[in-house]
């Protein structure tokens, strides 16, 4: 099997070097291998987290599975690689993973010098602060002189410095490499403030805090943190597939299609829906996939709203509202490009 992969890669390399612009080697390699290699967070409830039986769950994880469904019509044909903040970029750069779906913020540097291409945003997040209720802090503007726990190597660390600088406040950072250690230090009382993405704060408060009600999340959101799956530069076809798998889930919600009623829409007269579900062929071929790709994704994984509600929505321990992640028709930012 290993030699098979090697041969496939070697072949892919040769062809890839010649025809990088039209078709990429990743799709062929993934098909030859039979599963998608996906880099995920090692332990962030709601986004990427193994449950007690060792099954991976979370919003980011579900997009990995959606890719496996689009390619193989099987959500389990994924190999999850848990990655730390430090390991994630080398892992995607080197091809150790085909897809990085690990709550990664889209930034200019990452898009250019880190060599990534970002698919559409799957979660619009922003950085927030959490403090102990006892401190009596009501606003982030009162945090002058505070000790702040933050994970190293994240955009969070940079935003934190920017925010305090622009508000003429001082802070004392406690920067730790692993997320678990950051949380442990905060709940032990080493810091006054914990800062990370607001969704992460909600997850931490729900899942890690000894007494969740003892902690408050401050109202300020100090940054834009659009989280998106990423692929490496130089393989446009693979990038296209990831991009349109995300759009398909958003478009499905917009069109009112979900995992339960998708079969009723197969014979829909709406040409847009026909194109999406493959009733009128062409879209799948253009991507290099089966015509039923979007149908399968919606059937097996659900639309964007279902994925959101299942992992981070109001009924989950994270209890997150849709907010910015509502469809554009509901005043949010989620907007799919037309499938045509």
């Amino acid at each position: 099997m290993k030699s098979g992969i090697l041969a496939a890669t070697a072949a892919a390399l040769v062809f890839g070097a010649v025809t990088t612009a039209q078709a990429g080697p990743t799709l062929d390699a993934v098909k030859a291998r039979g599963f998608v290699q996906c880099g995920v967070n090692a332990g962030l409830p709601g986004f990427g987290n193994p449950d007690s039986a060792g099954n991976w769950t979370g919003l980011d994880v579900d997009y990995c599975r959606a890719m496996a469904v689009a390619l193989f019509n099987d959500p389990n044909k994924v190999k999850f690689t848990p990655l730390s903040a430090q390991q994630r970029f080398p892992a995607i750069q080197s091809g150790e993973v085909d897809l990085l779906s690990r709550n990664t913020t889209v930034t200019l540097t990452r898009d250019t010098s880190v060599g990534l291409n970002f698919a559409p945003v799957t979660y619009y997040d922003g950085q927030g602060f959490m403090v102990h209720k006892k401190l009596g802090v009501k606003s982030a503007k009162e945090l002058n002189g505070a000790t702040v726990c933050v994970q190293s190597g994240t955009t969070t660390e940079l935003n934190l410095a920017d925010y305090f600088r622009s508000n003429n406040m001082n802070y004392n950072p406690v920067v730790i490499e692993s997320n678990d250690e950051v949380n442990a230090a905060f709940f032990a009382g080493r810091c006054d403030v914990l800062t990370t993405d607001a969704s992460g704060l909600a997850g931490t408060r729900a899942g890690v805090a000894p007494v969740p009600d003892d902690y408050v999340i401050l109202p300020e959101i100090i940054s834009k943190e659009p989280l998106a799956p990423a692929v490496r530069h130089g393989d446009d076809q693979w990038f296209d597939i990831v991009k349109w798998v995300v759009y398909a889930t958003i478009q499905a919600e917009e069109s009112g299609i979900n995992s339960k009623n998708v079969d009723e829409f197969v014979n829909s007269k709406n040409p847009e829906i026909q194109r999406l579900l493959g009733s009128s062929p062409g879209m799948g071929k253009a991507l290099g996939l089966d015509e039923k790709w979007a149908y399968n994704v919606i059937k097996k994984m659900g639309n964007y709203g279902e994925i959101f509600d299942r992992n981070v929505g109001p009924k989950t321990p994270l209890k997150l509202e849709r907010g910015l992640n509502a469809l554009w028709t509901n005043g949010g930012l989620q907007y799919a490009m037309p499938v045509r």
């Binding site: 091809g95 540097t109 060599g115 410095a161 004392n172 490499e177 530069h233 130089g234």
Partner: protein
């Protein structure tokens, strides 16, 4: 070089250049070319792959990022640093923090290790046993585990900052670390520093003169007391001359934390104590075996010459023990400096921690790791050179 040409000539004399593997000279050259060839080929393959990977993904390369603004904060620093500074300066902060903890660790571990090493040889059974229990426990537990333990002691078992312990007025101990009062800023401190430097220079001259005189006339000079007097006296004169300022900068609880005074952060405390305690156990063994290596006859001979026991230790036993001690001690110092990289795990901003942040922010892993390795190689080399110099100085001069 010369032997090589001679060998070749001999080969030629035996009937032309023989290119068979049975000719030792040719074989040696053949094997070397083979091995070098393999190493170069593997290296070239890896580098080619890397370059290919980098260019295909259009990943940035080079050390240009060192000039860019770092825009992340650092908890503690010996030089002025703000997120506005460059990655290069941030890295320098990390290097200085590493040096700070390594040098302090080396000094403390040497003191503690020497005490424990001598204690193991004590005639007092209780002291000897306690010292060996210490050594056997500490040596056999991973240093990282010990670090986590020390860090947890501070963060989990110390009181929160508002209920800080206050053992001595002005000194506060809490989860935020140890806050101590320091003398308030005053020009006198600078003058005292200059006076101390002057004292050191004078001491060097006095000692040289005393040694010369003893060699010439045999008259001993109380260098120890003179040294002590000079080192204390000079700064004391500066202090009195400067008006004896007594103002203290006392830490005070303001807002979230203490302001003023000096602080020992929990991270620094944990890494320093962890490294000291761990390395001291090894240094104790080095010291013990060094002292045991000096033949008992040496002590007896010194006694027979009528030297008192302190002089016996200072003039006879220690100089000989040091020759045995210094080489293994050097490797313990190197280990301590290398182990200071464990600071990363508990969040002390050493050079590994800052290089790690840098490589995350810039995505330039190769440059980041290269910077860590280069700096440590330099530090290791520095310690080796210094200790080799010291070793030469104390080496036995054979006549």
């Amino acid at each position: 070089m010369a032997s090589e040409t001679r060998d070749t000539r001999r080969g030629a004399a035996q009937g032309g250049m023989s290119f068979s593997l049975s000719d030792p000279t040719f074989r040696a050259i053949f094997y070397q070319i083979l091995v070098v060839g393999i190493v170069v080929a593997v290296g070239w393959y890896l580098i080619a792959n890397t370059l290919d990977n980098l260019s295909r993904r259009s990943i940035a390369t080079g050390f240009g990022f060192l000039e860019r603004e770092a825009s992340f904060g650092i908890g503690e620093s010996l030089i002025d640093y703000s997120p506005r500074d460059t990655y290069g300066r941030a890295f320098l902060v990390g290097v200085l923090n590493t040096l700070k903890v390594s040098i302090l660790g080396i000094v403390l571990a040497t003191v503690l290790g020497t005490v424990i090493g001598i204690a193991r040889l004590s005639s007092n059974w209780l002291i000897a046993k306690l010292a060996s229990v210490y050594v056997e426990i500490i040596r056999n537990i991973p240093p990282l585990l010990q670090l986590f333990f020390w860090y947890a002691i501070v963060t989990e078992s110390m009181p929160p900052v508002r209920q800080a312990l206050n053992p001595i007025p002005g000194v506060f101990l809490s989860q935020r670390g140890l806050f101590v009062p320091v003398p308030a800023a005053d020009p006198v401190w600078k003058f005292m520093g200059i006076a101390l430097a002057l004292a050191v220079i004078v001491v060097i001259f006095v000692r040289r003169w005393a040694k010369d005189r003893q060699a010439r006339t045999g008259q001993p000079f109380p260098t120890g007391w003179t040294t002590l007097g000079l080192l204390i006296g000079f700064p004391l004169i500066a202090y009195i001359g400067g008006g004896m300022p007594t103002a203290l900068d006392v830490p005070e609880l303001a807002g979230f934390n203490f302001r003023g005074g000096a602080v020992v952060s929990p991270e620094f405390f944990a890494i320093l104590i962890g490294l000291t305690v761990y390395t001291a156990a090894f240094i104790a063994e080095v010291v013990r075996s060094g002292i045991l290596a000096v033949n008992w006859g040496q002590t007896e001979a010194a006694r027979a010459l009528g030297l008192p026991s302190t002089e016996t230790l200072r003039l006879v036993v220690l100089p000989q023990a040091l020759r045995v001690i210094v080489p293994p001690l050097t490797s313990q110092y190197l280990n301590l400096a290398k182990n200071s990289s464990l600071a990363l795990a508990i969040g002390y901003p050493d050079l590994v921690s800052i290089a790690n942040t840098t490589l995350n922010q810039t995505g330039q892993a190769i440059e980041g790791v290269a910077m860590i390795m280069g700096t440590y190689l330099t530090i290791s080399l520095g310690i080796s050179i210094f200790m080799n110099w010291y070793n030469k100085r104390i080496a036995l001069v054979e006549r």
